[in-house]
Amino acid sequence: MLVAEGLSQIYQGRQIVQDFTFQFEPGRIYGIIGANGAGKSTLLRLLSAMEKPSAGRTLLQGKELTAPVPEISCVWQRPYLFQQSVRRNIRYGLKIRGWPRKAEQERVQQLLEIFRLEHLQDNWAPKLSGGETARVAIARALAPRPKILLLDEPTANLDPSNTLLVERALYEVHREEQTTIIIVTHDMFQAKRLADVTLYLSGGKLVEYGPSRIIFNSLATEETRRFIRGEL
């Protein structure tokens, strides 16, 4: 279980994230939505302990996080792929964890299949298209079977078919491995399709949250309703 307690972040006097408290239950998918500048990306970096919060803390299984841990994998906005083949990119997390060769090969093969990357496995990763890059980055993050996967706008700028492919693959892995997934997106429909629970962030604050099935139909605040209607 990942717990955020009063997480806050201030950059140059500007409050980016304010007093964020939440419990992420294991094995579920969370969608974090909100307008640009709502503090979604910063929140993700705080949750993964990439950044030190100005106040509050993050706990993983009751232990405070002070630095990134192997149990949490992250995929950042505009992911960076290593200057290697697709296969070696996906292998990266296994390599550094010292997986045995055979298990490593099987796992990479499995992810290549799930993310429809088999035909690209020997390609030079930096030359891939946007959709392919996103798929490789997510497969790479999932490879070491992390307990928690954090995704920052994984399908921004992707065409609908790639978006669908990514969502299906994510869901497949989640179903098989009970990975907790926290996905930041500005696309509320993606949250609706994918997430068990959706959180709405505004001005760095958690405005409301609830099961995705319900929240989109019974919004508590006028602001959330306006966002959903596309007015924000």
């Binding site: 990134p68 994998s73 992250c74 992911p79 990266y92 997390g93 550094i96 993050a141």
Partner: protein, 228 residues
């Protein structure tokens, strides 16, 4: 004359002239040692400076860029004065007019080039790499290795640029090496000597050998870079 010297150069290389091979070897030795030492200092320095913020960093980088174009003669002169029997270092260790003195001068020329080129690459490219590695569970050591691997092209480019500069410079090695036959004479000082004696064909031939060395090294880099 260029054609004759081309022929002359090929003849010279094939002639088995030992002194020529020694001069070529000495050039390669002095310059590669200088670049090796500059790399050992410069690569960690570039990473440390590029990845961290410290007061005066922008000045450090500005000065570094200026030093990338240090006049070799000036460096030679300063090293000469430092290494002279009358200088602060020469009193204790006497290295003037030895290959070691030439290496020292060339390290000073190579260091800002290696550091400057790599620091630029680190500043430009390191952040997403670090974020990615840490987001995949890499520890500090693994992160460092990955970073070195991802930036290896910039590192090699820096090293090759520095090597190209030092092996072709004559001002510093003449001053601190003294162009002593059989001891500190290298390709560039030999070219100066032969030109002054009016042996333009021979001087050009030596110049062609120097060019060939640079060409081989740059071609190797190019092929390595575009292997994929």
């Amino acid at each position: 004359m260029l054609l004759t010297s081309l022929k002359e150069g090929i003849k010279l290389i094939l002639s088995g002239n030992t002194e020529l091979y020694l001069i070529i070897g000495r050039s390669l030795f002095v310059s590669s040692m200088a670049v090796l030492i500059a790399g050992i200092i410069g690569i960690p320095l570039a990473f440390a400076a590029g990845l961290n913020n410290f007061p005066g960093k922008s000045w450090f980088i500005k000065i570094l860029y200026v030093c990338m174009g240090l006049p070799p003669v000036l460096v030679g002169l300063v090293v000469f004065i430092l290494l002279s029997r009358s200088g602060p270092i020469g009193k204790h260790v006497y290295l003037l007019f030895t290959p070691a003195a030439m290496i020292i001068a060339q390290v000073i020329l190579a260091l800002p080039i290696i550091t400057g080129l790599i620091i630029t690459a680190v500043e430009e490219k390191a952040e997403p790499i670090i974020l990615t590695c840490r987001g995949l569970g890499a520890n500090q050591r693994q992160l460092t290795w990955t970073l070195l691997g991802e930036l290896k092209l910039s590192i090699v480019t820096g090293i090759v640029a520095a090597f190209g500069r030092v092996i072709a410079e004559v001002g510093a090695v003449t001053l601190v090496g003294g162009d002593i036959e059989g001891y500190t004479r290298v390709l560039t000082t030999a070219i100066v000597l032969e030109s002054r004696k009016g042996n333009f064909e021979l001087a050009l031939a030596l110049g062609l050998i120097l060019l060939t060395i640079s060409f081989i090294i740059n071609t190797a880099l190019y092929h390595w870079q575009y292997r994929r």
